[in-house]
Symmetry: C2
Subunit: 227 residues, 2 copies
């Protein structure tokens, strides 16, 4: 049997491309999605559509309440920034940063990996378009893998060695889109907006900005439905 | 103002002693408890009693569903082992091991720490009485701290350096109990049993065995109510 991959799947453009890459590399797909009290709960519907479109072997939605901790525009009461340029986005770690979010997500992915006897975890981390998140950087991802290799029964008793795959790490959004399209991704079922109104993307948040820019630079029609 | 400590608080003997130690060291106490679908939900009542007894500044109970992942006697359908000797316990990583549990717990603690602008995380990890859990070992805890120091906005922008305090790491249960009593801990409000019947401890699981043995070796009356 081919090896299993645990893929963090938000229903967005990046993680859907990662699913396509893991499939292309021959892995059996195990998708992991988080319901963490995010404002953009429409993400969850997108994640379910994407998991179904890829016929993943198993799709786990973990309910984990980050709102009790506060501290982010995505989970608390801070305002999602709008209409910012790439330069403005790059000036500081954004309000949409959620404290230790990727550490929590990867910790669950590690638990899922051990339960499924998988050693490969895929995440759509990226440092190019939007380098503000500390927990997307390669040195962070390496430190997480080092920790994981000491953390589990599988590692200690059976010498499991975990790999955190971040295939999009150094790609521009346009490259991600081109790669995804070449692997058959239908981006119309994905969702990226931080501040959606019903099923429609706002077109003004950082995430919409980068998505629009990516399609434009890739020279491909953007299938997103905006307000 | 004194610094804040995030203390993982299960309502058990060990973590309650850790609260007393952190208080003794002058920290302001921020308790973090997990409702993770454990069989022994009576733990949660104990954690609330303990947090109240210590008048912690804030007590957060995070609901995080580990049962969807399976793989442990504490969350799934495996049987909790009973009537085992210390030698039997030490032979293998026990069925009560929950995949990546401490990694998930410490990840939330890191989020809580960043939200509260704290750098000190306390955990009741121990490798003496019960060395089976990989995610209680000092090399694991160090790797977690290394990862944490690359993970957060506080670390990257404000040079926060996290310390994972595991004051019980090398103590026998009897020493933990003696230390706790000297710091005024009332162990009658704590709960350790993996397999309780109503509010009563079973007296037969590994956790009850170690607790009983600890009180006996400390030469102190055990205030636990057993079946």
């Amino acid at each position: 049997m081919p090896p299993k991959a645990i893929v963090l799947c938000s229903g967005g453009l990046d993680s859907t491309t990662v699913l396509a890459i893991a499939r292309e590399q021959g892995f059996r797909l195990y998708a992991l999605t988080f319901d963490y009290g995010q404002r953009h709960a429409v993400e969850l519907s997108a994640a379910r559509r994407v998991a179904a479109a890829f016929s993943v072997e198993r799709h786990v939605v973990v309910h984990c309440d980050l709102t009790v901790l506060g501290g982010s525009a995505l989970t608390g009461s801070l305002k999602v920034p709008e209409n910012r340029s790439l330069e403005e986005m790059r000036q500081e770690i954004p309000a949409t940063y959620v404290p230790a979010r990727n550490t929590i997500f990867l910790a669950y992915a590690l638990a899922f990996a051990e339960t499924e006897e998988a050693c490969d975890i895929f995440i759509g981390a990226n440092v190019i378009d939007y380098s503000g998140y500390p927990d997307c950087r390669p040195e962070y991802l390496k430190a997480f893998a080092d920790m994981a290799n000491l953390a589990t029964k599988a590692a200690v008793q059976h010498k499991a060695r975990y790999t955190i795959h971040a295939p999009l790490l150094y790609w521009h959004k346009a490259e991600i889109i081109r790669q995804g399209l070449s692997l058959g991704v239908d981006y119309s079922i994905t969702h990226s907006c931080y501040n959606p109104q019903q099923e429609l993307a706002c077109g003004r948040c950082d995430s919409c900005y980068l998505r629009k820019k990516g399609f434009a630079e890739a020279g491909v029609a953007d299938p997103t439905r905006y307000v």
